[in-house]
Symmetry: C2
Subunit: 331 residues, 2 copies
């Protein structure tokens, strides 16, 4: 009997399961991306804000650890508009060290598409709304990621952001009409074999997995943050602009950020206008907490799927569990 986890994604990148590591800034470093690639997923290094030194170091480490596994790198598009040196460095690698794919999120991917294509690298574009799809296809995306607002980290605002369950089949229908050769990944809420199997039912070729792989031994997330996440259920996150204000991240509308709704977040929800006008005191409190590893104020970047996460094993064990459970569901 054919493998129910074999999809266009696994065939294109030679994967053991249809999973891509989300390129989580500062968490998806070389150790995690390398472990995921070795474990049969596509490992995307979290180039994030585009820091050249960080990207160079972590991508190089990922290559050392990945064996023959598939690697890539992700960037925040609107940050590339300010400084694309990390992407430039990546595209200048020798042919045998180039990534298989570059993922771009949160901005217009078209200015970078030609350089990525010229290097023979696949472009993965993440969208949060249907209306962003034409831009991704115009950029020549090989893979589109449909990200629901339940995802951790940055995404689309709560008022009318999309949720994964109905967004993915709607994107699948759009692609079937407009770009049937484009692969589709589901992102947001996928953290075990059940949610992976559900993503395949929705018409996705696989899943982009963040929180579940964030909470692994190889992730660069702080130990205190990981510990808090394993003790938090899915009711305990929130999407807002609060942690971006505290971290001086100048994110453009309509993007905001999901993380654990800790004590500081709860307090600041009630005084958002004054936080925006006078952020200094809250920033000082936040920065002191980060330095002290105090997660009642420092943030832990996970999505609603944190309610399905109760441990912090090696990434390879997570991938194996997801594949095993999904195969049982789908058999």
């Amino acid at each position: 009997m054919s493998d129910r986890l074999a999809t266009r994604l696994t065939r294109r990148y030679g994967l053991a399961l249809p999973v891509v590591l989300a390129p989580m800034a500062l968490a998806a470093g070389g150790a995690l991306a390398g472990a995921c690639a070795r474990g049969g997923a596509l490992g995307l290094v979290g180039g994030g804000y585009g820091d050249l030194d960080w990207t160079r170091r972590e991508y190089t480490l990922a290559r050392q650890l990945a064996g023959s596994g598939a690697l890539g790198c992700g960037f925040i598009t609107w940050k590339l508009d300010q400084d694309a040196s990390a992407l430039d460095w990546l595209l200048d690698q020798p042919a045998d060290q180039l990534p298989r794919a570059v993922m771009l999120s949160f901005g217009d991917p078209r200015p970078y598409a030609a350089r990525i294509a010229r290097a023979g690298i696949d472009l993965i574009c993440q969208v949060q709304r249907l209306q962003q799809l034409p831009q991704a296809i115009e950029a020549g995306a090989t893979v589109v990621v449909a990200q629901g607002a339940e995802a951790g980290g940055h995404g689309m605002n709560a008022l009318n952001g999309r949720a994964t369950l109905s967004f993915v089949p709607e994107v699948a229908d759009w692609l079937a009409t407009h770009a049937p050769d484009t692969l589709l990944l589901a992102a947001g809420g996928i953290a075990d074999g059940r949610t992976l199997a559900a993503a395949l039912m929705l018409g996705a070729d696989g899943a982009l997995v963040g929180s579940r792989l964030w909470a692994t031994r190889e992730s660069l997330a702080a130990e205190g943050a990981k510990r808090q996440a394993t003790q938090t259920n899915g009711d305990g996150t929130a999407r807002s602009g609060i942690f971006d204000i505290l971290r001086r991240k100048n994110w453009p509308a309509p993007y905001d950020f999901r993380a654990i709704r800790n004590d500081l977040h709860r307090r600041l929800e009630l005084q958002l206008d004054s936080l925006r006008a006078h952020p200094e005191a809250a920033r000082a409190e936040y920065e002191a907490a980060v330095a002290a590893g105090d997660y009642s104020a420092a943030h832990a970047t996970v999505g609603e799927a944190v309610g399905l996460i109760n441990d912090c094993p090696p990434a390879q064990a997570v991938l194996q569990r997801m594949a095993d459970q999904a195969r049982v569901r789908l058999s």
Copy 2:
């Protein structure tokens, strides 16, 4: 080969597919509930705000149309706290005319549990957060509905509401530990065979379906609202308190309401504080639009799954399509 759509839900109520009609106030009348029951789903009349005359008329009609199909009725719990006469009427029916189930949402179900149990009727409790589960189990719920914030109509607020994809398996895990005989339905975002199959992968025994059955010939929703819905994609809804303010519905926190984000909604989003303080002018505009059937201001109550809805067929055709498509996915 066994039917992949046979679940604890279909066995308990003798259904042809694991689908329950959401008891949508003013839309799920007797014609729609009866058609769903006849079509092999559990048809819940939308008792909603608990109007006795409406409930009596529509439930009686549903019974005439349902044949041997399974029927029930749903109520808004906090409205029952003010006036339970419609529930009282229902529970006083002769034994052979009693509903199979009563569904309670948005409030504490425990005060009504004993009367419902005494009549031999199943209690279905809808929850929007994990923290509401113990109350539902204490009330003796036979079925728990885990509702994601992508659902149309009332639900839990956007800041930290849950989305269906990760909420359902988290509830399934909780029930497996605390109440393994309790059935589980997924609600929010389920509108075709793909999303139904996904709900089963997540560990649900079936799905509560709103928007897709709202947009049917038998639904009591206004024709203009249905027409607008078939032309709106999933990006085009929003969750807020705006339409409740306009309709003078005094909903308690933290509940809010998802509908199509029409021109009036977009305008009022920018002036929420002044709308709350002085709603009169906007209410007059809204009421005139309702009277005129102008859906640039009157509301159409659907969820994000509206992006999967492009027509308005008879309910039985919708159910048949969902079952056929889900069986193909699951085979």
